[in-house]
């Protein structure tokens, strides 16, 4: 197409455009045209999106899409790299700021930039009138810059830097309304819990460095010899590396046990939840594990661990989402659950090497579709909140479908996609995951383990359908009730908000259809260097059928309980009192963490403070007291009386004479 424009030239444009927008707002936009702060950001995101699309077309040169045999044409692409700056060159450590794009990164970037663009347009309507308007857009731009750099990072250290950076931006955005104590606390919690994961990630990076001597992706993943040599030398080191890297993913992608920050992160504005906690930041963990597939294929234990954690997370989150009353919290737990799905798929590669590429591919496909339908769900919830005067408790409003038609339609689209309604995007991606798990449970090693995982996945998809439509019916069906904050007549989304909603809803409905059964996505992703060869893959009709049945059963159950006879729901709630409470509180994990970890740490901190105050400060005060003591002894000598001074002079004279005499005595 544009032969004169090399991909290398635009590679840096993708992260730099949002960075420039952020700097512009920080330096100028706080003062000049405060309410227009969205313009540079939306412009920058549009530029990034265009560049990402261009990258998509040029990273894999044309001709990959020939349908038919997989794996028979040689891998047509290798990664595009640009080195911007030679960063560290110390001893044996050589780290440069290198941007590296291959098929996986290109897909990820398209997802990130498109969702960011739509969310930014939505936010320009949602956040209108907020006093921190420019700060919001600066933070969003900074976040998109960090995320793009994370995806484009060419070595582990650079990735870690931007891993932390997205955590920082998440902190800034969750705590956007920092005057609210709950928001500040939620931001702090997110950051600290993320940090725990980052610690594991960093240890993994260190271990990679000591094992391989390099951190560069091209050197590590370009050819399999390096990793193979390390595996032959010491099989367990690769498992350790993978487990440590996965700990980082647990923190960032809110898996059990570090998932507790994501529900609280709903304190942030809704566009933030849509962008960061549905589509982009939480998918960084999935991206990391997918990127490190060449490591993981040598560590089936780690992959089983990944799948197990994913399954546990999906189940716990789904159970918790069954009883939440806050619409955004339902969606947050749903995000955690769907992330668990992605990790379940990634972990399914442990059943055998031939399954690896499919597992990774479908995990990333689910991530791709999830981004769109979760974003549209969050943005619709934001629109609801906007109309209801910032009330999001579902018990306080109902029957909104006549009053908010646009929001209703888009929310329904997203909900159907999430539940896995046939032919929508969620159906295709979730079905492929179930197919992979089914294959893993039939063939290969550890079949029993994967059978359990499959069961959990099916159960979770049933619960997903149920709680999603519970939320939908509670919000949009039933008699019309508005809370007092909504005013006389709630208004629907303005055009700035409605446009992205429609676009995202269309994506939620259609993307799966376009990219799934035609294997466009799969073929494209298989071009990533480092992934093992993929075999033919036929769609699994059995799983399709089962998942369709489960989705319909869930929707019907929700309809029955929440529309037809609400009394049964109340009775169920009363009847299962302690279970209901357990589910509502997220299986009491927050309470547990508070007792087990936070309180002892606080005690230690108090002890340390007391030690510092009572012992160290006292020592310092004593040291400071000593000159005062000297002064108190020496000060009275200077009392202003001449005769005192004369006595001292006489004393000096006497001493001088004595010393002279002694000197002379020595001489003679």
């Amino acid at each position: 197409m544009f032969d004169w424009l090399k991909p290398n030239d635009v590679l840096w444009l993708i992260p730099v455009a949002p960075l420039l927008a952020c700097l512009w707002i920080v330096l100028v936009g706080q003062i000049v045209r405060r309410q227009q702060a969205h313009r540079p950001v939306i412009l920058a995101f549009a530029v990034s999106f265009a560049a990402a699309v261009y990258l998509l077309t040029s990273v894999v040169p044309g001709g990959f899409g020939t349908a038919g045999e997989h794996g028979e044409h040689a891998r047509a692409s290798s990664a595009i790299m640009t080195t911007i700056y030679q960063w560290i060159h110390v001893g044996g450590l050589d780290v440069a700021v290198t941007l590296r794009a291959d098929a996986m990164s290109a897909l990820m970037l398209v997802m990130v930039t498109s969702v960011s663009l739509l969310v930014a347009i939505f936010a320009s309507g949602y956040m209108k009138g907020d006093p921190g308007y420019p700060r919001f857009f600066a933070s969003i731009a900074l976040f998109v810059f960090s995320m793009c750099m994370l995806v484009l990072a060419g070595n582990f250290l650079l990735m870690f830097v931007f891993w932390e950076a997205v955590g920082l931006c998440s902190y800034l955005l969750i705590g956007f309304w920092f005057q609210k104590p709950s928001a500040a606390a939620a931001a702090k919690k997110a950051f600290v819990v993320n940090r725990i994961g980052d610690f594991g990630f960093l240890l993994g990076v260190f271990l990679i460095w000591t094992t391989f001597g390099t951190l560069d992706f091209e050197q590590l993943f370009g050819s399999p010899t390096l990793i193979q040599a390390a595996f032959l030398q010491d099989p367990t080191v690769l498992t350790t590396i993978c487990l440590l890297l996965f700990v980082g993913a647990i923190g960032k992608s809110a898996q059990f046990p570090l998932h507790v920050w994501l529900p609280d992160a709903m304190e942030g504005p809704t566009p933030v939840s849509a962008l960061i906690h549905a589509a982009t930041m939480v998918t960084a963990g999935v991206y990391l594990v997918a990127r490190c597939t060449p490591f993981f294929v040598y560590a089936p234990t780690a992959q089983m661990f990944v799948a197990g954690i994913g399954a546990a997370t999906a189940l716990i989150a789904a159970i918790t989402a069954l009883t939440q009353y806050d619409l955004k919290r339902v969606l947050a737990y749903s995000t955690v659950s769907q992330l668990g799905y992605m990790f379940m798929s990634l972990g399914a590669a442990g059943a055998g090497l031939d399954l690896a590429t499919h597992a990774v591919t479908f995990a990333m496909f689910h991530m791709f579709t999830h981004a769109f339908f979760k974003a549209v769900l969050f943005l619709s919830a934001g629109s609801v909140m906007h109309s209801m005067g910032d009330v999001i408790d579902m018990r306080r409003f109902s029957g909104l479908r006549k009053v908010l038609p646009i929001t209703h339609i888009t929310f329904l689209a997203g909900a159907l996609a999430l539940a896995g309604f046939p032919l929508l995007s969620g159906f295709w991606s979730k079905d492929e995951i179930l197919a992979v798990l089914f294959t893993a449970s039939q063939t290969g090693e550890h079949a029993d383990f994967y059978r359990i995982i499959l069961g959990v996945a099916l159960l979770t998809s049933l619960m997903t359908a149920f709680y999603t439509f519970r939320a939908y019916f509670m919000t949009f069906w039933g008699e019309e009730r508005f809370p007092a904050e909504a005013g006389d007549h709630p208004h629907d989304a303005p055009p700035a908000m409605a446009g992205p909603l429609f676009i995202l809803a269309a994506a939620a409905l259609g993307v799966g259809l376009i990219a799934g059964p035609t294997h466009l996505y799969g073929h494209y992703l298989e071009q990533t260097p480092g992934l093992p060869e993929a075999h033919a893959h036929a769609p699994n009709v059995l799983m399709m059928g089962i998942s369709t049945v489960l989705a319909l059963v869930g929707i019907a159950a929700a309809y029955g309980l929440y529309v037809r006879s609400p009394g049964i729901a109340q009775a169920l709630k009363r009847g299962s009192g302690p279970l209901h409470h357990l589910s509502h509180e997220g299986l009491q994990l927050d309470w547990l963490y508070l007792r087990l970890i936070v309180t002892p740490l606080r005690l230690i901190a108090q002890l340390a403070e007391r030690f510092d105050r009572c012992i160290i400060d006292v020592i310092v005060d004593c040291v400071g007291f000593v000159p005062g003591l000297f002064g108190a002894v020496l000060r009275p000598i200077h009392n202003g009386f001449v005769q005192n001074y004369a006595v001292v002079m006489l004393l000096g004279l006497v001493l001088g004479l004595v010393s002279v005499l002694r000197a002379f005595a020595g001489q003679m």
Partner: protein, 252 residues
Amino acid sequence: MNWSPENMQLLLPLCLGWLAVWSLLPREKPRGRILAGLTGVAAMLVLQATSLPPAGEIVRDAMFYVFAAVAVLCAGLMITDRNPLYAALWFALTTLAVCGLFLINSAPFLAAATIIVYAGAIVVTFLFVIMLAQQAGSADYDRQSCQPGIASLLSFVLLGILLFSLQEWGGINANTTDAARPGQFVSLPQGVQANILSQPPVSNPREIGSLRVLGRALFTDYLYSVELAGTVLLVATIGAIAIAPRRPQGHL
């Protein structure tokens, strides 16, 4: 330093003298003035016995002893008397005794000049000021002394050092006047640079005190210093007049 018995002999008069002076210094409750006085006299006697042997000529020695005793006694009385007026008068007596010592040292002009200037002018000025600045009755500050213990102790230590060093190394041989002996830490001056007006060195020792010799020395060898001294006197006079309080300011 090795202490010889002679050095030890110095300690006795020093201690006695210290005790005497210390007791005599004015306090609120005076302690045994008579005893202290006797102690002082005893100290002087012991000192004479140990360190001040007669030199040979009887007349000279007698005069020396008399004048020295009077000087020391009056000095002691001056510093310990509670009435400032009496103290000034004791000082006048001390000046007279010192003039006597000048006479013994062949300085008759100096003796006369001292009596005239010191005892006649300076002491009288002091007396005038005392009387002008006197308050009714005995003042508080005259009846008490400040830091008597440490002052007297340190002074007597200084005196002890001086006496000790005189005893050890002050032995000056009457034979040589110019060359320093080993053991002498006093190196004798070579003499002032002679100018054309300089007089030749005095041949007859008895001529030392003559006015002629003194005058010639003053106005030839020390001319510069004499002129300067005159200038200093002038400046001091002007200064004293400038500093002294004027009548309108105070009641003086």
